[in-house]
């Protein structure tokens, strides 16, 4: 005769079973909740940490390549004035895909705001910085130099995009030249399929004739993807990068 204090394994008391079920269920709930919180931390914080690190790496590589490629324009000899020398190539070769080729400064986003611009708009590239639409014009060239960037996550580069106003400056610096674009139109809310916004003369922009334009795009509901925000700018000045500039960004 079996004692009551050691029930056989195949005859577990129902209250024990119930306790096991409730405990397992609550453990699963706790685990799921923890997972969700961790994922939110990942999206909000960790992607930013990763993006900042990647952007810093891209910028360091970019500056190294500039220093290696253009010793005559080194800041050590600003008065040597080889100013017309670093003119952009007249032919229009593409930038190397997947590589950073310029830095962007937008004073409206703050004096410390600077991001590398990479060639291509793949999601993988946009994790490291801003992406140049490969089929659009080169920096400073006639046409529409178009750039996409994250509004949220991955460092939130274009978080303050709606604060851009006509008259704001967008400054781009490549190996030899510093291009200042001035915003003329936007921010305009449009649909993701509206590819005309990056055309050489975008239909909805204030521009009517061919020129040296710039387009920035990002997603519109801050955390969504149903629309896009667009601003258009026009080239208003170039000067040798070594001179620096008074626009508020010393670099």
């Amino acid at each position: 005769m079996r004692s009551r204090w050691a029930p056989p394994r195949d005859r577990v008391r129902p209250d024990v079973l119930l306790r096991l079920a409730v405990r397992t269920f609550s453990e699963v709930c706790l685990t799921a909740g923890t997972l969700i919180v961790l994922f939110v931390v990942y999206v909000l914080v960790w992607t930013g940490v990763k993006a900042d690190r990647a952007a810093d790496g891209e910028m360091a590589r970019l500056r190294d390549s500039w220093a290696a490629a253009a010793p005559p324009t080194a800041p050590a000899a600003p008065a040597a004035a080889p100013a017309p020398a670093p003119a952009p190539a007249p032919a229009e070769p593409r930038y190397p895909a997947g590589r950073a080729f310029a830095e962007m400064y937008i004073p409206r986003f703050g004096p410390d705001w600077v991001r590398p611009v990479l060639e291509g708009t793949d999601p993988e590239l946009l994790k490291k910085g801003l992406g140049h639409y490969p089929a659009t014009a080169r920096l400073g060239a006639v046409g529409n130099f178009s750039v996409a960037g994250h509004r949220r996550t991955y460092g939130d580069p274009f978080k303050d995009f709606p604060r851009l106003r006509p008259g704001d400056q967008v400054i781009l610096k490549d190996a030899g030249t510093r291009y200042t674009y001035t915003i003329r139109g936007g921010p305009l809310r449009t649909l993701p399929t509206d590819v005309a916004v990056v055309e050489p003369v975008p239909p909805k922009s204030p521009f009517t004739a061919p020129g040296r334009y710039l387009t920035l795009t990002t997603c519109d509901p801050e955390w969504g993807h149903s629309h896009r925000l667009v601003v258009w700018a026009e080239l208003t000045g170039t000067r040798p990068a070594a001179e620096g500039g008074p626009e508020g960004s010393s670099r």
Binding site: Y42, V43, P123, T136, A148, E199
Partner: protein
């Protein structure tokens, strides 16, 4: 579940606590390194281009 793991860890309570901590950190590492990067593109924050970059221009 967690009770089962705890009972199957070797050593006394301190050793088990240490192993548990290591296990938790390992799980978090795997999540951040592999699982979340896979899951994140399923969210809409990556769509910042017009026409997803395919023939975005004339």
């Amino acid at each position: 579940m967690y009770g089962w793991i705890w009972r199957h860890l070797p050593g006394n309570a301190w050793v088990r606590a240490l192993i548990s901590l290591v296990l938790v950190l390992a799980v978090v590492f795997v999540l951040f390194q592999y699982v979340f990067p896979w899951a994140e593109p399923l969210l809409p924050f990556n769509d910042v281009t017009v026409d997803e970059g395919s023939g975005a221009t004339p």
